[in-house]
């Protein structure tokens, strides 16, 4: 009897304990709609910079929209003005639309003027209802840069003389040439093709501030290993014993930007993952994006034969476009270099961002 009573007691407690949540939850299950888009009051996103080396200035403007790809034929409800804050001169920029592909079109505004060194400007992007995104910025002072491109050394010093607050986007591009192993040739190619693979090496983390300017040294010999690895990653060279061990350097290109002080991302790292987060790297009020000021610098030169050889490049590729077909090492496919791809990319994954290779692992 007691056992029976106990069992009934259990039932009395357990049944409601189970059924009550069921009833409560079932009544909560009627909502069907979901609003994924919460909206925002921010009107525009702005990208560009005032280039004191150019006679025409451009800014790209995005509306903060409620669809990922707005109608490419649609215009934009925006007007752009720049104001020289010292003189008060206000200029309205001209609208231009550019179709990049079948999906994406860009809204650009341009103005034909050259920014004045050390002047302060206001850029405003105004919607018809008055909502405005604005940026205030100061153009950096003038500077001179020196690069001894004619020197025969593989170490080329670069100096920037001037009180420039920021130096960014320093890149050395190596334009090398090589005849790849046959498995990388285009289908049906009768002769060994020559391949160019520009390899960009970042120098952002090698620059040093000195009194009155900046300096750094382009290390062509050190960068050769990076270039070689890039070719190896792309299966364009193989082991020395195989068909295409050599790369020849055709030219070197340097570029950079003397930038204003706001052009400084967190940790001085231009990481697309990081900077794509709205507000992470932005100087725009009531808007997203970044609009800076600066002056582009650059130089392109052909290193001497001695410099190239000293850096590690080889003038005599074993297989060329004129190599006869009866040279087996140029036509028998070597061992697939897939494993080298794995090793190579694993090694460089830490430092790769976009198509720029970073020799150090300071970047994430």
């Amino acid at each position: 009897m007691i056992a029976k009573r106990l069992r009934k007691k259990w039932l009395v407690w357990l049944l409601p304990a189970v059924m009550l949540p069921v009833l409560l939850l079932s009544t909560a299950g009627c909502e069907e709609s979901v609003d994924a888009l919460t909206g925002t009051d921010i009107p525009f996103t702005i990208w560009g910079f005032l280039d004191s080396a150019a006679d025409t200035q451009y800014v790209r403007v995005f509306e903060v929209a409620d669809e990922l790809i707005p109608d490419r034929e649609a215009g934009i409800d925006a007007r752009v003005f720049s104001t020289h804050l010292a003189t008060g001169k206000r200029l309205e920029w001209t609208y231009e639309r550019v179709h990049f592909d079948s999906l994406i079109s860009g809204h650009f505004f341009m103005a034909p003027f050259r920014p004045e060194y050390e002047a302060r400007y206001l850029l405003e992007v105004v919607r018809s209802d008055g909502e405005t995104a604005r940026v205030e910025l100061t153009v950096p002072p003038a500077a001179q840069f020196t690069l001894e491109s004619g020197a025969s050394s593989v170490q080329i010093p670069v100096f920037i003389d001037g009180d420039v607050p920021n130096l960014i986007g320093l890149r050395v591009t190596y334009h090398a040439i090589n005849v790849p192993p046959p498995q990388a040739w285009p289908q049906g190619s009768p002769v060994a093709p020559a391949v160019q693979l520009p390899v960009i090496v970042s120098y952002d983390d090698r620059v040093e501030r000195i009194p009155g300017g900046w300096r750094f040294t382009i290390d062509i010999a050190g960068d050769f290993e990076i270039v070689r690895a890039a070719y190896q990653i792309n299966c364009l060279i193989t082991d020395p014993e195989e068909s295409a061990p050599d790369i020849w350097l055709r030219k070197v290109e340097f570029s950079g930007l003397l930038a204003d002080s706001s052009w400084s991302p967190p940790g001085r790292v231009f990481d697309a993952n990081l900077l794509a987060v709205p507000g992470t790297f932005s100087n725009v009020q009531n808007g997203y994006g970044f609009f800076g000021a600066g002056e582009g610098i650059g130089l392109e030169w052909t290193p001497s034969t001695e410099t190239s050889l000293q850096a590690g490049y080889n003038f005599l590729p074993r297989c060329t476009g004129l190599t006869p077909r009866n040279v087996p090492e140029c036509h028998n496919p070597p061992e697939p270099c897939v494993s080298e791809i794995f090793q190579g990319i694993e090694g460089f994954a830490q430092g790769k961002s976009g198509n720029v290779l970073h020799p150090s692992d300071k970047r994430r």
Binding site: L6, K8, W10, L11, V18, M19, P21, V22, L25, G29, E31, E32, V34, D35, A36, L37, T38, G39, T40, T45, W47, G48, F49, Y58, V59, R60, F62, V64, A65, D66, L68, I69, S102, L103, I104, G106, F108, I168, G169, L170, R171, G256, F270, D271, N273, L274, L275, A276, V277, P278, T280, F281, Y288, F290, G294, G296, F342, A349, Q350, G354
Partner: protein
């Protein structure tokens, strides 16, 4: 915890393995030094069929009231040791079978081998209810373990006459499926790739089909499945969330049987029979999706899925105390989870293929009270994602596994111990999916040993401590202590389990997009293997023979797991970040068993939180957040009744809304990393997410499935079963996924009428 400060990993491990062996052998060897040194052992099988029978109570009685006994294990093996010389009555009983009785004259040092064949009881087969100890049932959960048998699976309404294990899994509280497609099963907060799925000891990496009603385990081939939602013992290792341990049937060793089934979703068939009557049998089963040909003709939603599977098993009794089985499995899946005509979202296909082959040798040597098992298996998973024929992401995983498992039997205890060697080989090309892990291969050798005594301490107390020691690739050596407890007093049972678990081969998925189920298998990018700690506490009561209730609370924490970084970067790619997390909750179950009615109600409450490690260089560390599989409330109600020869089955399921990340708007992104001429740069469309991911909650999910089934006996021993029913009976628009790029929703299956036919002999 790790073994630091010692000299050689392998020396340490093998020393521990040997120690484990010695300790393991001890309970079995000790009796030989004593007077009571005789033993009786054997296998219990059924007649007809020759199937191994688990849970058979085998006892010997010397007619003076001194009773000794043992229950047969999953292979039907039993061993009764420490028997004094004399005459004994041996008895083996199991519900539904005629009790086996024999008389044994046992001399000192005898090691008798008695293989018992139990014949089906005709009376029981005619429906006379015989109550006996059950192991399975919706509420029968002991320290996270639930046993599922084909009869349980067939209770759940499904689009086929034959059920599927995944249908039953979806009724278990705190088991979350993302919907009726995708093949992703989350158990108590763990990721699908953290579940260890075994078929006859062979690891199957992605066994669930792309359409959520199906897996590689149809009820046609399943003998039993043990699901450990957590707190699993030392015999399982290498995964940190759960274990789904599926044992397949052996083919019939006396007669040939076959079946063929057709439904709008699949066609299936099976054939089994003796190769050498009484000794060797085979079982083959295959299934093929019919969505293109049948279901898509009348289901309004697109069904761009193809899947199939094939299973084969040969089982041989090599001698009275030796068995050998060879099991093979192949599955294939291909589908587009969110078909679209949007040019921005290509209808990328995900596909995967499992291939597995294993050999299992079981032996009960006469000289020792030991059951030994040697398992050698190879399993392979090939996955790809991208346009058909031109996949952009590929992940291959191949595993060789050698395991030796021993069970030593003693009077009131058993000791399981063994060692294993696993060599998972991963090759992955991710096409930029995880930007800091683009491409690679790995082969982290995994060597280890375990020991697990099982002690019946008296007074209804059962204790099973355990320890796994293993070295995992170059991440280190690990101690993984485990403990399982059970205390049974009358109608009450308390149970608890705890353990530390490690995993070195990890599956990576981009959880920002629930429809992107492509999983890349790699060796952990961390210097330390993923770790999880489990704690479970449960209570079960059977207040009446027809009623059973249970409640079980759980807590899991997870370290060194990897999740996709939350970034607004416009590519459909992400970077991995090391994270930790925790899941906790409880399950409440109530089960009713009446002669003509069966039903259960399950409720699960759970909470899962992830957090990117503060030291991790995350772009945007959102703090603690709900991952997209954090389903807070879950209810399953099942009822099955026999009415005028028809089996009517209905199941209602409810799940509270899953988290999602609301979007503020869209714009474009240009990387201003130098003197960028913006007029020449295309830029990327960008999604402006809210700063903390998964702050929104999707609508709740609920659905009613109903089936009616009737079996007909036809001449020549043929049985035909006809099924009709409806899935999603009240046509609830349940959301499957929300495309945050287009704010477009994709719903799960609408109301789907079904009809199925199965013929078997």
């Amino acid at each position: 915890m790790t073994l630091r400060g010692l000299h050689s990993a392998h020396v340490r491990l093998w020393a521990l393995a040997v120690l484990a062996g010695i300790v393991g052998l001890a309970p079995g060897l000790a009796p030989d030094a004593q007077a009571q040194s005789a033993s009786v052992r054997g296998f219990v099988t059924t007649e007809p069929g020759g199937e191994s029978l688990q849970g058979v109570n085998v006892s010997i009685d010397n007619l003076t009231g001194a009773l000794k006994g043992a229950a047969s294990n999953e292979d039907g093996f039993f061993l009764i040791g420490r028997i004094s010389p004399g005459r004994y009555a041996l008895q083996a009983s199991f519900v539904g079978f005629v009790t086996y009785v024999d008389t044994l004259d046992i001399a000192a040092d005898d090691r008798l081998l008695v293989n018992i064949v139990l014949r089906e009881d005709a009376l029981a087969m005619e429906g006379i209810s015989v109550e006996a100890e059950r192991e399975d049932g919706a509420a029968r959960v002991t320290a996270g373990r639930q046993t599922i048998r084909p009869e349980d699976i067939d209770l759940i309404p499904s689009p086929d006459v034959s059920g599927d294990l995944v249908s039953y899994l979806s009724t278990i509280p705190s088991v979350v499926l993302m919907g009726d497609r995708g093949g992703q099963v989350f158990i108590r907060g763990g990721e699908p790739t953290q579940n260890l799925t075994l078929l006859d000891g062979i690891e199957i990496y992605q066994p669930f089909h792309v359409l959520g009603f199906y897996s590689a385990f149809s009820s046609e081939i399943v003998s039993r499945a043990d699901v450990y939602a957590g707190g699993f013992g030392a015999e399982f290792s290498g995964r940190i969330s759960s274990v789904i341990d599926v044992h397949s049937r052996n083919g019939n060793k006396r007669d040939f049987h076959a079946s063929a089934a057709l439904s709008p979703f699949t066609s299936a068939g099976h054939l089994e029979g003796p190769l050498l009557p009484g000794r060797i049998s085979f079982l083959g089963a295959a299934r093929y999706s019919m969505l293109d040909g049948l279901a898509s003709r009348y289901v309004s939603a697109p069904l761009p899925y193809v899947f199939d599977d094939a299973f084969g098993k040969i089982h041989a009794r090599l001698g009275p105390n030796r068995q050998l089985s060879v099991t093979g499995l192949r599955t294939f899946d291909r589908g587009t989870l969110t078909p679209t005509d949007d040019p921005l979202r290509r209808s990328d296909e995900v596909s995967w293929r499992n291939t597995a082959l294993g050999v299992r040798y079981l032996s009960a040597p006469r000289i020792l009270p030991i059951l030994s098992e040697v398992l050698v298996s190879v399993s392979r998973l090939e996955s790809s994602f991208g346009p058909r024929g031109e996949p952009t992401r590929i992940s291959d995983l191949e595993l060789f596994n050698l395991a030796v498992n021993m069970t030593n039997f003693a009077q009131r205890s058993e000791v399981k111990w063994g060692f294993f060697l696993r060599t998972p080989l991963t090759e992955t090309a991710l096409g930029g999916l995880f930007q800091n892990l683009m491409i690679g291969r790995g082969a982290p050798t995994n060597i280890g040993a375990y020991i697990q005594p099982e002690i019946y301490a008296g007074g209804g107390l059962y204790v099973r401590p355990g320890l796994t020691v293993q070295t995992m690739g170059n991440t280190g050596d690990y101690f993984e202590p485990r403990l399982r407890l059970r205390l049974q007093r009358g109608i009450h049972e308390w149970s608890a389990a705890a353990g530390v678990y490690r995993q070195v081969t990890v599956g990576l998925s981009d959880r920002r997009d629930a429809t992107n189920i492509f999983t890349a298998w790699v060796q952990t990018p961390s210097s330390e293997a993923m770790r999880s700690m489990h704690a479970l506490l449960g209570y079960r009561v059977e207040p009446a023979a027809w009623l059973e209730c249970s409640i079980e609370g759980f807590y899991k924490n997870m370290d060194h797991i990897f999740i996709g970084e939350w970034t607004a970067f416009p590519g459909f790619t992400t970077r991995l970040q090391e994270a930790h997390g925790a899941a906790y909750g409880f399950d409440l179950r109530l089960e009713v068993r009446r002669p003509r009615f069966y039903g259960f109600v399950n409720y699960g409450l759970s909470s899962t939180r992830y957090e990117i490690d503060p030291a991790s260089p995350a772009v945007n560390n959102p703090g603690r957040f709900r991952p997209p599989h954090d389903r807070r409330h879950q209810v399953n109600v099942l009822g099955k009744a026999a009415v005028y020869g028809f089996d009517i089955s209905a199941r209602w399921q409810f799940g509270s809304g899953l988290p999602y990340t609301p979007v503020s708007g869209f714009d474009g992104f240009v990387l201003m990393d130098g003197p960028v001429n913006v007029r020449n740069v295309r830029g990327f469309p960008r999604v402006i997410y809210e700063s903390i991911p998964y702050q929104g909650t999707l609508p709740t999910y609920h659905r009613l499935d109903v089936t009616v089934e009737r079996a007909f006996d036809l001449p020549a021993g043929v049985e035909m079963t006809i099924q009709a029913g409806v899935m999603n009976a009240y046509d609830r628009a349940n959301l499957f996924t929300l495309d945050l790029l287009t704010a477009r929703r994709t719903d799960q299956l609408p109301l789907v009428p079904i009809a199925g036919l199965k013929v078997q002999f």
